[in-house]
Amino acid sequence: MREQRSQLTRWRGEVKRLLFTVLTVLIGAGIVAGSVWLLMDRQAAPATLKAKIVGTAATPQGNLPHATLDLSIYPQSSASVPGPDTGVNAVIDKFGWPFYWPSTSLELPAHSLVTITVHQYDGASTVWNPYFAKVHGTVGGTASFNGKTKTEIDPANVAHTFTIHQYPQSTQPYFFVSVPMLAVADNAKNEANGYPKAEVMEFSFITGAPGDYIWNCEDPCGSGYVDFGAVMSERGWMSGTVTVV
């Protein structure tokens, strides 16, 4: 009789230990899964900005759907344009960070001509690498700066650049577009909306098959060592994603 009870208690002990072992693992898994979910939620990219299809256009590659996209670059957020405040590093002081607006995660249609118009309100900061003062990858290798068509601008007069480049996927078409953004003169006076008169850049390029790409500004406009810190190293301000669908 006592035999059986001791048997029973030992058996109970075994089961209990087993359950607690499994429980420990489950708790660990729960912690990891929960924090992954939290972090993804915390670091969500800004709402996607889709290019609008406005018809078809004749291109070197024949008639393609024509899509347009309007972007603006603000020197710093204001009452009229709040600007982004995302990312894990919200504690870092973001006063005076320039940013692309309305969004930095873009979506473009595949196999079509895309025309991007940028209203640029920020001042100049010399670009390290003169390569990025030239226009690359657009139709005809040119862009229109305030209506004037050029292939490059003065490196000392570049405010930012819009540079799309390759995602590390060998299966998707190579895609590279880089256009410098003309700077506003330092003595330009502000208008009603609190910003000076915008410089307008317009350029078109042809997208290939669907794929994921990223873009960022190549003109050091941040802070820290060689001005590539701060805003230049944060998603959602001077860099983002480009999805071709």
């Binding site: 390759q166 990223i214 050091p220 060592y225």
Partner: protein, 286 residues
């Protein structure tokens, strides 16, 4: 103090008059466990050596080798795997046999039956040390020779010293900036590109630098790798000998978009290269 001058730990526990070495060798080889371990050793070698082919296969998955340097690298990896296989095999076979052959003991209490008190064994020590030293020496010599070879492949075609092969080297200025590679052909009319387009079988000479932080310029299938340092120019070179498009990656963490700091190298024929130069507005100088 007397207790301090006790017997040293390597006291010889073997009789002073040993049998002749040949006899002892025969006797040793006749021991069953020795034979079994040797058997396992042979089997393991048969299992392990083929890994050498596997390793090289993995290295070639992405389309290489596309240069003589890469060929040398794969050869080195292959040889190293072969020569280190026996080391792994002997270790593994002893471990395996020790779990099966010499008598396992289980239970809660410290085992009563004790193992043979082998303090040391001069023959084993000498054999092991000489074997590992020989292995290391071989690896060093092989490595030094290979290093000399690939260095000559890389720099043998620099404008500095008269290169053996007739074709003049093409200089390429490689600039890393967060997070893009840009290439400049100083002798071809300073044309610039985001993709590295080069003619086949022509020596290339890279001047690599960085605009900001440390990057690492890695042409995977060509076996070229050198850091791009700010404030310094590093040089390397290669002669591509396979047509096709290969990967250029950044192999040194360089910030936000390090993972995306990739581009292509297109190895094309001389004619294609010339026409590419022309449409880039460059001029042919070779």
């Amino acid at each position: 103090m007397s207790i301090d001058s006790q017997t040293p730990i390597d006291e010889p526990e073997v009789p002073t008059n040993r049998p002749e070495p040949t006899h002892r060798m025969k006797e040793w080889l006749s021991r069953p466990y020795v034979r079994r371990i040797l058997l396992i050793f042979v089997i393991l070698n048969i299992v392990i050596v083929p890994i050498a082919w596997l390793v090289v296969h993995f290295m070639e998955l992405s389309g290489g080798p596309a240069s003589s340097i890469m060929v040398e690298l794969e050869k080195t990896v292959f040889v190293f795997t072969i020569v280190s296989a026996p080391l792994m095999a002997i270790t593994a076979s002893i471990l395996i046999y020790s779990l099966l052959g010499w008598g396992r003991v289980t239970g809660e209490e410290p085992p009563m039956q004790e193992s043979p008190a082998i303090r040391t064994n001069g023959i084993a020590v000498v054999a092991w040390v000489s074997a590992t030293s020989l292995l290391a020496t071989f690896l060093v010599i092989w490595g030094l020779m290979e290093l000399a070879t690939i260095t000559s492949y890389a720099y043998g075609s620099t404008p500095a010293n008269q290169q053996p092969n007739a074709t003049k080297a093409i200089d390429v200025n490689v600039t890393g900036q967060q997070w893009l590679w840009t290439f400049e052909y100083p002798d071809q009319g300073k044309i610039e590109s985001d993709v590295l387009v080069v003619p086949i079988n022509t020596p290339l000479y890279f001047n690599v630098t960085s605009k900001d932080v440390v990057h690492n310029f890695w042409i995977v299938e060509l076996g070229v790798k050198i850091d791009a340092n700010p404030g310094a120019i590093t040089n390397t070179g290669v002669t591509p000998d396979k047509l096709g498009t290969f990967n250029i990656r950044c192999a040194e963490l360089c910030g936000l978009h390090h993972a995306y700091m990739e581009t292509k190298i297109e190895v094309v024929t001389q004619d294609q290269f010339d026409s590419w130069l022309r449409e880039q507005g460059g001029k042919r100088t070779i």
